[in-house]
């Protein structure tokens, strides 16, 4: 179809009884472009900050396998994507000028032939969400690293994952993924991210704590060089350094590298080692064994075990059993169902370590409890139970 002429436009104005004197001189003749109806264009509504990121040249990535709901990731945040329907028709027009732009540009030509690039009745809406990181642990646990002597690695048919692989498989932003790798003490071995097999990890930790003990080093000043020298014949140097990094804080003093050991984390790991050997323990027996098992100079406390173990004081003597928050479901409702299946009524103090990670950006544990649980009083103490009948 031939492009409209100024004369045709003026004729239309006259038929429409519009006074050209009341209009700006420039007109846009809107035609549908060649790909307009193809549905290849779609609209994404941007949350604050994302527009600036795009303009700064940074990418946004949509992640999700066929069986997962898609999420959008910026460099450091993750968003759920949802289709929003409008009852209106939205046309996207390149090169269409606003009245301000036309007035500012006096030399603009009289007719602007604009092609409508596409149209839609809906658009993608974003809502900030928690990154879906449970899968990260699951993938790395497929093949935990058992040490260089392990026969497993050579014969292993399990997938190993590079950073790039993880970026493609995990529904989270790069920063969130890298942060989580640090949190779970993952390390890179031959270019692949690995989690240590717990027994191997304890073996490494034991080497270090025994050395600290025999050398009488203060727990706050463990020298890296000496560790590597003394233990280098037993284990790979990278692994010795990794265990020190996992269980200590690295710092430099007078040009030398030292580690301030995390007493709480070490006690916690030793507790896990003890607890995983039985379904549950008599509480006082456990506490005694535990204190004797930790390195000289360290003090065990039950609050070191938050999110790792649960104490049951409903019987005398009390018992304690392993319950790891990372083994529980990631979805909010499923998490609460699971917790109420384990114990019918929880105090806020007991349940908090097991729901803390569910809190959205500005959400509190209290808000979660209000939404997913019902409260009541039991022996003068406020407890929470399920909103639904337990099957």
């Amino acid at each position: 179809a031939a492009m409209r002429s100024r004369a045709e436009v003026d004729a239309t104005l006259q038929t429409a009884k519009l006074n050209p004197a009341e209009l700006l001189p420039a007109v846009h003749c809107l035609n549908f472009g060649p790909q307009a109806g193809s549905g290849e264009c779609c609209l994404l509504q941007l949350e604050p900050g994302l527009c600036a990121e795009l303009e700064a040249g940074r990418s946004l990535v949509i992640r999700g396998e066929k069986d997962e709901h898609a999420v959008l990731c910026s460099k450091d945040k993750t968003y759920d994507m949802k289709i929003a329907d409008t009852s209106n028709m939205l046309l996207f027009v390149p090169g269409c000028k606003t009245p301000e732009e036309l007035k500012a540009d006096q030399a603009s030509c009289n007719i602007i032939h604009s092609q409508i690039a596409g149209f839609s009745k809906n658009y993608w809406e974003l809502r900030r969400c928690r990154p879906k990181l449970k899968k990260l642990r699951k993938l790395l646990m497929e093949d935990p690293y058992e040490g260089p002597d392990s026969q497993k690695d050579q014969a292993s048919t399990f997938s190993k994952y590079t950073t790039e692989d993880l970026l493609n498989l995990i529904q989270a932003s790069e920063e969130e993924i890298l942060h989580q790798l640090q949190v779970i003490d993952a390390c890179k071995i031959e270019g692949y991210w690995r989690i240590l097999d717990f027994n191997y990890e304890m073996k490494l930790l034991n080497h270090v704590t025994q050395l600290i003990d025999s050398e009488s080093w203060p727990l706050s000043k463990v020298p890296l060089c000496a560790c590597l020298e003394e233990l280098g014949s037993l284990e790979p140097r990278e692994m010795i350094e990794h265990i020190l990094l996992s269980y200590g804080r690295k710092y430099v003093d007078d040009g030398e590298v030292f580690f301030e050991m995390h007493e709480d984390k070490i006690c916690r790991a030793i507790a896990q080692m003890l607890l995983q050997n039985a379904v549950k323990f008599n509480l006082s027996e456990f506490e005694e064994i535990w204190q004797h098992s930790v390195p000289e100079g360290m003090t065990t406390r039950l609050d070191q075990l938050q999110g790792l173990a649960l104490v049951d004081k409903s019987t005398r003597p009390g018992t304690i059993f392993l319950l790891k928050v990372e083994d529980l479901p990631e979805d909010n409702q499923e998490r609460f169902n699971s917790l109420f299946g384990i114990r019918e009524k929880w105090t806020e103090v007991d349940i908090t370590p097991y729901i803390q990670d569910l809190c959205a950006e500005k959400q509190t544990v209290g808000a979660l409890l209000t939404k997913y649980a019902r409260s009541s009083m039991l022996n003068g103490v406020k407890v929470y139970n399920s909103r639904r009948p337990i099957s």
Partner: protein, 114 residues
């Protein structure tokens, strides 16, 4: 899995929001056919002449801008779960022309010979 990359400087497009459906005058392809003429009054009010209708609208600065995603390669597969495929961000939209008023019909008598 999809990736959208920001190009050097992103183009700024405009959104035109209309009520109802968009249908071509003739049956057949929409491509290439005319939608209408877009004018602005001296006060900056957009006026759209579509067929035998005049639509008055307003210029709205979007609180939440849009990104225009274009699917790359292959026929579009409508995906119920999510927008799977490869996309690039082609443009940003910060402004829309909203036409919500009822269109005024244009009563024509004799089409003027040009």
């Amino acid at each position: 899995l999809s990736r959208s990359g920001g190009t050097g400087t992103l183009a700024q497009w405009v959104l035109v929001e209309l009520q109802g459906e968009v249908e071509p005058r003739q049956s057949g392809d929409l491509a290439g056919s005319l939608l209408g003429d877009l004018h602005y009054t001296c006060e900056g009010i957009p006026v759209l002449i579509v067929g035998h209708h005049i639509l008055y609208g307003k210029v709205v600065q979007l609180e939440k801008p849009f990104a225009v995603l274009v699917k790359q390669g292959g026929a579009s597969q409508p995906s119920p779960v999510g927008p799977h495929g490869h996309y690039t961000v082609t443009a940003l939209i910060k402004t829309k022309l909203l036409f919500k008023t009822r269109p005024k019909p244009i009563i024509t008598h004799v089409p003027k010979k040009v």
